[in-house]
């Protein structure tokens, strides 16, 4: 690899890569996302490598382990290019047949392609499968096309051209203005305008500023950031470098999970390759702008995803949050201005710079622009990652992409945003995916994780579960959070055991109010959100538990009492 010294040299390199690529050369793109690996794709990848070697096809066929394709429920997924024939639920035993029939023989194997569960219609191509066809895969679409371990693959699809444009044709202020005009809002949970956040850090009075990728993704049920970062790490890195240029930062940090080896590997490789090409380091693309990135790890506690705790962790200290009136945008890592955005937010930046804010504004609703990655889990036929324009109706997400509720049961409620999110009842399913609409309903979008719950789910038990989780994850520094969670958890546990008493609900509401007002950080101030939203829509269910009834027939102790 040689260092690239200008935008012109970058284009030259890109053309060189493209001219060496034969568009008709068959390649086998095997999803190596977390779900597919969990479902046994490791064996499928090995089987393909072995079969290609056995048939001496190494020079004629590429085998690539890619990032997540999104349709996790039907994994392991294998796509045969250039035709884009998509095979689902592939086993190692299918491999010889796929190589001889499809890769060489160009014939589709009927039993491995998608069959619509209702109409029985079949679809062989990825673009024909309704799950993919109806999405708008601006960020995720390249996952099935590139090898996440190859920067050349990313360059071949136009990668780093937005960075070249920013450094060459735009001033830092122009980049900032473009992101502000695009109305990009933070994808990590708050939905705060990214442009305004950047501006605060840019204007903060300190020469040294930091930019950070939050890839902590600690919310149970949220897995879209891992899918994107692991599958296309350069798209996030490119966004980070552009952001650093706009903000005036020379040092970036990536804060990610230690327990996802494939993600760690891909990020390390991406950084090393970007450095070799000179896209990181001194004088990037001859612009005079210099920027470095360092990787730090979460080693297993939820609160370290909170902005001030995360920054303490990067300093090498225990991740205890600071009071929220100290803004990390101004006083962050080592007390210096630090801009934190999550994986998906950064990945949107090259899109905005490359295609312009007008294009970005054409997608979405009035105040929520662009696409959003959603991870679906719980009582849903397809646990998947989907990317849809903001404004898509929740009903469409649950039924068209999620495939509805399994086992013939009815949907009862949707929970957004993990243990600090909110729940809405099935009756509100016609609402659009929109930061402000969801907030008004009492369920902030969070990172975009949607948990479906069927009619057999007891919400008192789910509220108890979230508080149980949070009681283990609270750092314990401030009393309202530490003790408040514990007391609410005690009350809910008693309710599920048939020991609830009159006044319990009111007492929890009082506790929730105090925690919301007095806790130190945004974790503490949000712990009561699930409970309050459930009380708003399902109060009768909590009241029933005090009367020793569980309407969902789920709490064992209450079923036993009913039997008496």
């Amino acid at each position: 690899m040689t260092r690239i010294n200008s935008a012109a040299e970058l284009e030259e390199l890109r053309q060189g890569i493209l001219s060496k690529k034969d568009p008709d050369k068959p390649s086998i793109a095997i999803c190596a996302g977390l779900s597919c690996l969990g479902l046994g794709n490791g064996a499928v990848i090995n089987a393909f490598k072995e079969e290609i070697r056995k048939q001496s096809l190494e020079a004629k066929v590429d085998v690539i382990a890619t990032g997540c394709h999104g349709f996790c429920e039907k994994g392991p997924i294998v796509v045969i290019n250039p035709e884009e024939i998509c095979y689902l639920q592939v086993t190692p035993e299918d491999v010889p047949e796929i190589v001889s029939q499809t890769v060489i023989g160009k014939k589709v194997i009927d039993r491995l392609i998608y069959t619509d569960p209702k109409s029985g219609e079949k679809a062989a191509l990825m673009s024909e499968i309704p799950f993919y066809k109806k999405q708008m895969r601006v960020l995720m679409g390249n996952n099935a096309k590139i090898n996440p371990k190859s920067i050349d693959d990313y360059l071949a699809i136009g990668g780093y051209s937005a960075l070249a444009k920013a450094l060459n044709e735009m001033s830092p202020v122009q980049v900032l203005e473009e992101v502000t005009k695009a109305n990009l809002r933070g994808r990590g949970g708050g939905g705060f305008p990214a442009g305004r956040k950047w501006e605060t850090t840019r204007n903060a009075p300190n020469e040294t500023k930091y930019v950070i990728v939050n890839a902590h993704e600690g919310e149970p049920g949220a897995f879209m950031d891992r899918a994107l970062f692991q599958g296309n790490p350069h798209s996030v890195l490119e966004g980070l470098i552009i952001g650093a240029y706009a903000i005036g930062s020379q040092q970036g940090f990536i804060y990610t999970r230690h327990d996802t080896p494939e993600l760690r590997k891909n990020v390390d490789i991406a950084l090393a390759q970007a450095e070799e090409y000179g896209l990181l380091g001194e004088n990037i693309l001859g612009s005079g702008f210099s920027f470095k990135v360092e990787v730090h790890f979460d080693v297993g506690i939820f609160v370290s995803g909170e902005s001030s705790a995360l920054m303490r962790s990067i300093e090498g200290k225990a991740p205890e949050p600071k009071p929220k009136y100290i803004r990390t945008s101004v006083h962050g890592i080592w007390d210096r201005p630090s801009n934190l955005n999550n994986v998906e937010t950064w990945a949107n930046v090259p899109q905005i710079i490359g295609k312009g804010s007008e294009w970005y504004n054409s997608i979405g609703t009035e105040k929520s622009k662009g696409t959003k990655l959603i991870s679906l889990s719980g009582h849903v036929c397809n646990s998947t990652v989907v990317e849809v324009p903001m404004g898509t109706s929740l009903k469409e997400i649950v039924y068209d992409f999620g495939g509805g509720i399994p086992n013939g049961k009815k949907l009862k409620a949707i929970h957004f945003g993990g243990p600090m999110g909110g729940t809405i009842p099935e009756s509100l399913i016609d609402n659009p995916l929109d930061f402000d609409v969801l907030s008004k309903l009492g369920a902030s979008m969070g990172a975009g994780d949607m948990l479906m719950m069927d009619e057999g789910t007891c919400l008192v038990e789910v509220a108890r579960f979230f508080l149980d989780f949070l009681s283990g994850e609270s750092c314990g520094k401030c009393v309202p959070c530490r003790e408040g969670i514990r007391q609410m958890l005690n009350i809910l546990t008693n309710m599920t055991k048939g020991k609830g008493k009159a006044g319990d609900i009111e007492l929890m509401e009082e506790l929730a109010e105090v925690i919301g007002a007095a806790a130190l950080c945004s974790l503490g101030r949000s712990v009561q959100n699930p409970l309050l939203s459930m009380l708003k829509y399902f109060r009768d269910e909590f009241e029933a538990h005090i009367e020793k009834r569980c309407p969902a027939h789920s709490c064992k102790a209450l079923i036993a009492l009913e039997g008496v």
Partner: protein
């Protein structure tokens, strides 16, 4: 305990106090637990107070202050797994191994931990033994899955 490997990690980050968490993570991954004398060495080499090493070791769930078993079982109790029956998976594992989350059995065969979401909710309920994921597992399949380990 592989002293050379631990020395190597320590030398790589000598004097870099901000790499404390990374050093502890790498040693935990290599050695599967953090003996007191190793933590003392970390404190010396990285020039951070021993109290801070200990504080971080007890704060994060990943670090272990006692030796782990030959095989580490992780049962996912994230929300999606929870509503798909993770509790009964956990109870079955506890019955079969005789240990609770955070414990290691007397023969040092298994250690048991719960984890909060591994990011593959379609696999739920699931458990991992070392690197192997057992997806969509039901309680009556667990005994067979655990038999393979010695």
């Amino acid at each position: 305990m592989d002293n050379d490997a631990i020395e190597q990690i320590l030398n790589k980050y000598q004097g870099q106090s901000r790499q404390l968490i990374r050093v502890m993570m790498e040693i935990q991954e290599e050695n599967h637990w953090l003996p007191r004398e190793v933590m003392m060495k970390i404190s010396e080499k990285l020039e951070v107070p021993f109290s801070r090493v200990l504080r971080i070791a007890t704060y994060y769930k990943t670090f272990s202050l006692t030796p782990k078993g030959r095989h580490e079982i992780h049962v996912c109790t994230g929300t999606a797994c929870h509503i798909r029956g993770a509790q009964s998976v956990l109870e079955t594992v506890q019955d079969l191994t005789g240990i609770k989350p955070g414990e290691t059995d007397a023969e040092h065969k298994f250690s048991l931990e719960t984890v909060n979401c591994q990011g593959c909710c379609t696999c739920g309920p699931m458990l991992k033994v070392d690197e192997k994921t057992h997806s969509r597992i039901s309680s009556n399949e667990i005994a067979d899955a655990l038999k393979k380990y010695d």
